[in-house]
């Protein structure tokens, strides 16, 4: 086990923002931390990276607490903070050079490494330009680059793709994947986009309200839903009344209206379809389209917390 948290707790003004969480990361693993805004992901990361002290509990690196001795984790950790942490008045190159120097990367290799990183994040051509002139996506890419200079054994990325263009996003995801697969770098990837976590991570922790509500590989998590079906229906007309009536069907766990139709989660096995048809028709409407969905992590989250990741 590389990193382990033991009943890690952090409170602000008496409120537990991170609440007794236990998790671990093995060397070379790629682990996702999934949860909606405000779940406590960034706070957890700040504690792990020794930027703030926990209120209770412990963080262990190879079995040794880092609370008293933060130097150990700082040496092997690269952190990509949620907020861009760069000198706006300096160029991309100058930023990387400065951070490389203070990470004490040897002068003889620094130059080469900077160019390598600039290639990796696709900014070699624009390295001389000031960061403040960059788009959000480009800043995010430099932000990642600045965490790679000292070749960290573990990289923690805190929502590195928030608010950027799809092209930059793909670039970032590819970079992270490459780091993990080719360099064997351990990854902790935080996001509230479950597609990203699904794509990148072998193992996922789902966090909500400061607690870990579920964990495991993707299949393990999806098994949580093995007793449920997700059904999507389209109606010729909808109303709140219809939704309410559907909710009242005995085997239905959850109903909500999405961009494409009404989503229904129900217990497996019951003959839900006939009940649905009956209910809808009794309200004078008609089902125009019907499909049973393969569940996603999003659905798992919905199941566990009763809300969606983007709430």
């Amino acid at each position: 086990m590389m990193i382990e948290t033991v009943k890690l707790t952090k409170s602000f003004k008496g409120k537990n923002v991170v609440d007794e969480i236990n998790f671990y990361i093995d060397e070379g693993e790629s682990v996702g931390l999934l949860g909606p805004n405000g779940a406590g992901k960034s706070t957890t990361i700040s504690v792990i990276s020794s930027l703030i002290k926990p209120s209770a509990g412990d963080v262990k690196l190879y079995g040794k607490s880092i609370i008293k001795n933060p130097a150990a984790i700082r040496k092997i950790l690269g952190i990509v903070p949620q907020e861009i942490a760069l000198y706006e008045e300096l160029s991309a190159y100058e930023n990387l050079k400065f951070f490389g120097e203070i990470y004490k990367v040897k002068r003889s290799v620094l130059e080469e490494r900077i160019q390598e990183i600039l290639d990796m994040v696709g900014l070699r051509e624009r390295q001389k330009e000031l960061v403040k002139t960059f788009s959000g996506g480009m800043k995010r890419r430099v932000n990642i680059g600045a965490a790679l200079l000292h070749r960290p054994k573990i990289i923690i990325l805190d929502e590195p793709t928030v608010g950027i263009d799809p092209q930059s996003r793909n670039h970032i995801l590819e970079t992270v994947q490459k780091l993990n697969k080719e360099n064997g770098t351990t990854i902790l990837y935080t996001s509230h986009y479950m597609e990203e976590v699904e794509q990148l991570c072998k193992r996922v922790y789902i966090m909500d309200h400061g607690k870990i509500v579920a964990s495991g590989s993707k299949t393990e998590l999806l098994n949580i839903l093995s007793s449920e079906d997700t059904i999507k229906i389209h109606l010729n007309e909808t109303s709140d009344d219809i939704l309410k009536k559907i909710q009242q069907i005995e085997s239905v766990r959850h109903v909500d209206e999405t961009d494409d139709g009404i989503r229904i989660i129900s217990k497996k096995g019951n003959n839900i379809l006939s009940s649905l048809i009956h209910t809808v028709e009794s309200q004078g409407a008609e089902i125009t389209n019907y499909q049973i969905e393969t569940p996603s992590l999003e659905d798992v989250f919905l199941h566990l917390t009763g809300r969606t990741l983007r709430d």
Partner: protein, 423 residues
């Protein structure tokens, strides 16, 4: 360490406008002030004339005889008595005062002074023909000489009666104040030069800081405020540099820096060194440009310039220390605005205590002793003393103080530097 300096200088360089403003603001102000004060009369003496009456209530001759008798009866060797007698006749205090008003060519350009009796002066004042009366009290010469030569503490005060307060009468006040201070200083030095008078004979309290704003001789008002103002401006550099830290905080780079295991000194080193060079540059700029443009230091020796560079160097060191303290405070405090506010208050306090706003002579003794520990106060008074005495000014003592302050501020900075971000 040098990575931080490089980065700090680069960031400053990218912000050239602010840097240039910081460099030129004091120059501009000194030049403007210089012209403002020129208007009072140095350029055009006819524009101003302050009529002052000097009322001599002391019988100088009797006072001198009395002091002779006192010296002769003092338990001193003949040699010592002889020196004292000569000194007494060389510096008859009331004569010096008359010289100041009646003969000094600079002053007589804009002050017309005359000797009058008390009643004549009062009448003239009543008619509005006088701006001020200088009363020299009975026993003045005796008292002053007793104090100067024999260390007897007396309570003699020249009275300045002013008809209506104005900038000009304020200047007159300062001249008087300075004259009295100057008497102490000159004499103290004479004694030291002669070498055969014991230290116990120096006037009680010894040297006093000279901080008054007008001194036709040996230093000029312009020379004074050049240093008083530019040291004040220089203090703001510490705050400016610390506010760059606010940007680092806002841009979160400080978090990145903290988790690289960077030692506080390295981070502060950049700030301190940048501040040092910047302050040095600013003050040298001010002195040189002000001199080239206005000839403020005309006729000064190479030696004087050398001392000035030294004084500025040590002062810059102290400001640099201050920037370390401000930087750590900035990192610790949640509100950037509050932090900046506190820095400004500290600087204004130092400015006030250091005599950048009003003469120190009017403060309580306790406050005056604080003055001697403000970076700008030490610098300004040392500079004034250097103007007057060259290498005889107490350079070493002042430099040690500055250096001590630098170390103190730096240590506070290092101590306060957050190892983790406090939340």
């Amino acid at each position: 360490m040098f990575s931080f300096l490089k980065k700090d200088l680069l960031v400053l360089w990218r912000d050239r406008k602010e840097v240039l403003i910081a460099l030129f603001a004091p120059i501009l102000l000194v030049v403007i002030l210089n012209f403002a004060f020129s208007d009072i009369g140095v350029d055009d003496p006819k524009n101003i004339d302050l009529s002052v009456a000097i009322v001599m209530e002391d019988d100088a001759e009797a006072s001198m005889q009395q002091i002779e008798a006192t010296i002769q009866s003092a338990p001193l060797s003949d040699n010592e008595q002889q020196t004292l007698l000569e000194t007494a006749h060389a510096i008859v205090p009331s004569d010096l005062l008359f010289e100041l008003f009646l003969d000094d060519s600079d002053l007589s350009q804009w002050i017309s002074a005359e000797r009058l009796t008390a009643s004549a002066a009062a009448e003239k004042m009543e008619n509005g023909d006088l701006d001020a009366i200088v009363h020299i009290p009975a026993g003045f010469n005796y008292d002053v000489l007793m104090q100067l030569l024999l260390g007897e503490v007396t309570d003699t005060r020249v009275k300045l009666q002013i008809e209506e307060h104005s900038l000009q009468t304020d200047i007159l006040y300062d001249i008087m104040d300075n004259y009295l201070n100057g008497l102490n200083l000159h004499l103290a030095l004479d004694h030291l030069a002669e070498g055969n008078i014991e230290g116990a004979m120096l006037p009680t309290g010894g040297r006093e800081l000279l901080n008054d704003e007008v001194e036709p001789y040996p230093y000029t008002f312009a020379q004074y405020f050049t240093m008083a103002l530019s040291t004040l401006f220089a203090l703001f550099i510490a705050s400016t540099i610390a506010s760059k830290t606010a940007t680092e905080k806002r841009q979160r780079v400080i978090n990145r820096i903290i988790i690289t295991n960077t030692r506080p000194v390295s981070f502060l080193f950049g700030k301190v060194t940048a501040t040092f060079f910047f302050t040095l540059l600013q003050l040298l700029f001010v002195c040189v440009i002000v001199h080239l443009a206005l000839g403020i230091f005309a006729g000064k020796s190479i030696e004087f310039w050398f001392i000035t560079v030294l004084i500025i160097t040590f002062f810059s060191l102290t400001v640099a220390g201050l920037s370390a303290m401000f930087t750590s405070l900035m990192l610790r405090m949640n509100s950037i605005n509050l932090a900046t506010g506190i820095f400004t208050m500290i600087i204004m306090l130092l400015g006030t205590l250091g005599g950048s706003f009003f003469p120190i002579g009017e403060m309580s003794p306790f406050m005056q002793s604080l003055v001697e520990w403000t970076p700008n106060g030490i610098t300004t008074s040392l500079f004034i003393e250097a103007l007057q005495y060259g290498t005889d000014a107490p350079l070493l003592a002042a430099f040690s103080k500055q250096f001590l302050l630098f170390i103190l501020f730096l240590l506070i900075g290092i101590f306060l530097f957050p190892e983790r971000r406090e939340v």
